[in-house]
Amino acid sequence: VLPLLSHCSLTMIAVQMKSHCEYDLSASTFSPDGRVFQVEYAMKAVENSSTAIGIRCKDGVVFGVEKLILSKLYEQGSNKRIFNIDRHVGMAVAGLLADARSLSEVSREEASNFRSNYGHDIPLKHLADRVAMYVHAYTLYSAVRPFGCSFILGSYDEDDGPQLYMVDPSGISYGYWGCAIGKAKQAAKTEIEKLQVGVNILYIHIDIYIVHDEVKDKAFELELSWVGEVTKGRHELVPKDIKEEAEKYAKESLEEEDDSDEDNM
């Protein structure tokens, strides 16, 4: 099923690619039909990246990132795509990684300044708004280019519960129950919609394994993190043993599905 889907999306993109040369040279120009092409191109950069998923469960938030292994020489665990922004906030990114890392520094400073001024942890909605405002500023001028990355912010707090926000290159931030960014985001969103509210991390694994396109991208490393009641509100990478258990469960469920498909045929 998956190879067909990606083929379709490629042809759709080809159709939309007209010549926009007069209006797409800088972010400070609108097109006649009211679009800012530089921002849309920045979003394309996100779509070319491998997938990142965030799910808000009833007692926490889970992030899963499909890290494609481009070289056998990569050290395992390097090239992280999930960052700690504050003790209680995590960020998963997709798109141009250098842009994403720069924004993670911006978010860290924002969260830290807030604590310094107001004496308590920054509420996630406020952090998402502030970083989104920063990203938006780079869509206003011709002297700079927009950030070519989207990111998902998640946190857990005893009073406000789990929170999940996504920020895209245009500078919009929305709260979500579940969201996905990157190349397989449509497929991932379909999977996430099937979930009921209140699940745990095993399902994130299955999602990533399902949406990973086996034909085009061979090997991938899974980066998994969580924050919730189970971590007492601290954002951390999922411990190795739980991660391995979930990976095993995901692979087995996928094999079952494949087997049942073959039987039907």
Binding site: S116, N117, G119
Partner: protein, 217 residues
């Protein structure tokens, strides 16, 4: 609080003063006298308000230089209001106290004012924070401050109980302020009390002739 140094070195109008705040079951009471003095012998105002409202459920009482205190609370009120609008929710008492602390600490060379910030918020309920002259921030179940406070440490230490009822807390505060005003020549006038709970903010004024009387009065 460093009250002995503050009022003798302060230029202009000072609030040689007595202020206090006390947590009770369901809220906080903050209280003060109403005298402003210049030097040690001239009363420049008998009816001054030392309980400044910085947000719906958060008050500050001021001690030290009146001008400095008014400038700081005005700035804090502005910052807190903006912060609260951005957060789309009422501010935490700790946030208000932190704002005051940043202002006091960063401007400690120029300022001579200390504060008690007290109020109620959804997260931690009633709270009291002391922001001292140099910018220290401390949370306490009750606190007293100003020049008159030195005369009532014994009284409050002996009489305070955690989780008092509203009536007990009002009696405790009124007694403490009356005793301080009775001995400190730069505290006096009427007793101002503000009762802050989740539901409302209530102002209570006890005029001079209705103050509790003690053995020699």
């Amino acid at each position: 609080m460093d009250s002995h140094h503050s009022y003798s070195q302060v230029k202009g109008v000072s609030t040689g003063t007595t202020i206090l705040a006390v947590k009770f079951n369901g809220g906080v009471i903050i209280g003060s006298d109403s005298r402003a003095s210049m030097g040690e012998s001239y009363v420049s105002s008998k009816t001054i308000n030392k309980l400044i409202q910085v947000h719906d459920r958060i008050f500050c009482c001021i001690a030290g230089s009146l001008a400095d205190a008014q400038a700081v609370t005005k700035m804090a009120k502005f910052q807190l209001s903006f912060h609260s609008i951005q957060m789309e929710s009422p501010p935490l008492v700790k946030a208000a106290a932190s704002i005051m602390r940043e202002l006091c600490y960063n401007n400690k060379e120029e300022l001579q004012a200390g504060f008690i910030t007290a109020g109620w918020d959804r997260k931690k309920g009633p709270q009291i924070y002391v922001v001292s002259l140099g910018g220290m921030l401390l949370s306490q179940p009750f606190t007293i401050g100003g020049s008159g406070s030195t005369y009532i440490y014994g009284y409050v230490d002996a009489k305070f109980k955690p989780d008092m009822s509203l009536e007990e807390a009002i009696q405790f505060s009124t007694n403490a302020l009356a005793l301080a005003m009775g001995r400190d020549n730069v505290s006096g006038g009427v007793v101002h009390l503000v009762v802050i709970t989740e539901a409302e903010v209530k102002h209570v004024v006890v005029p001079g002739n209705k103050l509790p009387k003690f053995h020699d009065e």
